[in-house]
Amino acid sequence: MRRVPDRSPRNMLQFANPTRFMTFSARLQPWLWGSAALVLAVGLYFALVASPVDYQQGQTVRIMYVHVPAAWLAMFCYTTIAISSLGTLVWRHPLADVSARAAAPIGAAFTFLALLTGSLWGKPMWGTWWVWDARLTSVLVLFLLYLGLMALWRAFDDPARAARPGAILALVGFINVPIIKFSVDWWNTLHQPASVFRLDGPTIDMSMLVPLLIMALGFTLLFLALHVAAMRNEIMRRRVRALRVRTASQLSLAEATAS
């Protein structure tokens, strides 16, 4: 007789406890916000003031300091969701689903920012607000994956029931991301054999690379701060929901005994 693995709460890892997370994250939060603000302030100073203008693009090159970190975070968030989903499916970690769900809107926002800045950059560079450039198109499909994932989560009345379907979709999407990237690159080279200006050149001067890296770090810290805050919100939202369910059942029980 095969046996289903034991999934009783006592086997859950110690740090899976949301209460412990709430205490820990409350102490962590000021540090995250503080370091994000500091690094972003330094990064923005370099990006907007202290870095040189591009000999070809002029001042518009400064869009890059927002666009590239946003695109990086778009992928980083999706990876966070995928790892959390693995936690949901394999270990049934109660925090894993909270993490995935909290990361999705933030990731979608960064993806949208990457698309928006890409479009703003396109106008002076290509003379049009939107170009079907391989990179922008891939990010657009990634944005669609985010929207699908959020739509699926929202479609369930009970967040606990949405956890594992959402995790399956997130992982299926994650496996697809490199395939989509590959296919869009293929599609692009097929249709645009002429060399277009690419948003990231293979060579970039140190005077631009350093502020770019600082901005990327600042964005990542910002994401971590937002993510922890969103996870705390999600946990509290679920506690409110659980309290409501419990109160409703107590009320109906009281009514039944009174009548």
Binding site: M1, R2, V4, D6, R7, S8, D158, A160, A242, V245
Partner: protein
Amino acid sequence: MRLVAQGLACRRGGRDVFAGVGFEVRSGEILELRGPNGVGKSSLLRLVAGLVDRTAGDIALQGGDEELTLPEQAHYVGHLDAIKPPLTVLENLRFWGEMLGEGSVEPRAALEAVGLSALAQFPAYTLSAGQRRRLSLARLLCAKRPVWLLDEPTTALDRASRETLYGLVRAHAADGGLTLVATHDDLPLQARRLEMRRAA
């Protein structure tokens, strides 16, 4: 053969449906699950059938086929009848016979036993509610499986059909099978009772 369960717990939608349920059913025994609505009788049957995950406890069929899981050795008759209206009565039954038991039993004999053989070639959409119910009971016979899980099997059955059902269960018990039946009725079967109470 013994079906042994210990400390079973089930949690759905953030609510404990039941906890600490244990029982033992031996070959030839019938276990009646009793208790008010919402106490988790259906969930317990679905848990045994492998359709719902347990949050705690153990369940095992001792002395069964070592190659197969418990759900693969069990029949489940729930509230839904799994009948496809466009297919004929015989086609419906033959499909489940093949799917659940590799077609080892002739489906016509099963139809005979529940009194539907005259309707074998009729599309299933012609059946009444009671006839549909009897067709799902015929599924129990069209594949040989030792554990029967019956969820309120008397619903929509008239008196004659109930007698047929009792006959099937008695024959199954005499044949060494195990039966778990959730019911509100007093069944004229020699069954042990498991009273289920609301989880605290």
